[in-house]
Symmetry: C2
Subunit: 240 residues, 2 copies
Amino acid sequence: MTENLPAPSAAPVKTIAFVLYPGLTPLDIVGPLQVFAALGDLVPGYLTVVVGERIEPMSSDTALSLVPSHTFEDMPEPHTLIVPGGLVPTLAAMADESLLRNLRETAARSQVVGSVCTGSLLLAAAGLLEGRQATTHWMYRDLLARFGATPVVRRWVEDGHFITAAGVSAGIDMALHLVGRLAGNEVARMVQLFIEYDPEPPFGPIDWTAADSGQYAPFAGQLLENALTDYPALLAHLSN
Amino acid sequence: MTENLPAPSAAPVKTIAFVLYPGLTPLDIVGPLQVFAALGDLVPGYLTVVVGERIEPMSSDTALSLVPSHTFEDMPEPHTLIVPGGLVPTLAAMADESLLRNLRETAARSQVVGSVCTGSLLLAAAGLLEGRQATTHWMYRDLLARFGATPVVRRWVEDGHFITAAGVSAGIDMALHLVGRLAGNEVARMVQLFIEYDPEPPFGPIDWTAADSGQYAPFAGQLLENALTDYPALLAHLSN
């Protein structure tokens, strides 16, 4: 296969760091992680790491637990930082000052800072999206404005060195776009071929009627309330 | 949200079991797991579990390690069994008699047996796909015939109570199809909305030229050889 690949580069390895924290939605992290892991397998010069506050199994919103490869303290210098999302645990993490501090410090050293789904609410809560266009899971798009960001309805949104994706599976599309930017479109297409990303949603594209009608707004509000019971000031700021 | 959901059912819980083993491709398991976890969150009557030979962190082909929720011994009675794939570790697992025995025994008690990517090679190696139509990752489609199955070029293939998906990301499409069959198309569409599965591959659909030309066949053969060094008879059977 090597004759089809770009020549090995003498440039230093670029590290793509994915943040792991308890309770997240595993597809938010695994979608783009698999894309970047394939990039690392196909061409030299890319390393993916999974960064958490502790190297131990962390719960997810499925039956699977996940273990990071590095802590924030021992991680290699990041080129790209990607923050996945989730439901109640992610909404609660908007008040987790230790995690937000780690995100702020790591983001400040990264050339690209990305998020998937409600991961952008953590970037926003860390003060990183003020004055920027951003997106998130459709159910919580309006919250971005409470942190000074401008919500945008798109699969992914770039503003400066920030890139935020829509809900859950949107991280795959965003990651392929990033791979194209980093390593060229040919390599991105090769990654797409290896993960056989040729989607055939059996019921076609999403019908946005229920989401657009606000039908799920009370449900979304209830989850936010459950998440921030212990943080009434933040809850009030986000709910009014 | 409850007024939009089907009434709670008195039927016993259906358990959807995902198999975890060392070295697999995490998107193979996490794609369909996230779909079924959303099903379980949205309507009563579904439980997802992750089953391994031991409850301990297992490596993957990314920087992430994964921990199952159950062993084969202590898992609830399965309704659906899903076997994810991977590269060299999965190819090597075709010779792992302990895992194959567990797959055979669990499959015999399941009403639906599915696979993602090269997971179907494990079902085939366990003798479960003989005389059946099946698919797998494009790179190893021909191997299915060596186990007496008929390889089919489709996103997913159903034959009796077996359903096999193409490579990696195809597990998401297959899982949505299964959710539609189990819980109805309306519920499947709701799951699709919650995981925001409205794909926009940035470079469009896959260009199959490189795959169809056999360009990667030597690479695929080399990986198979690496995986089965200690099993020359199986390697010969699959290579000739």
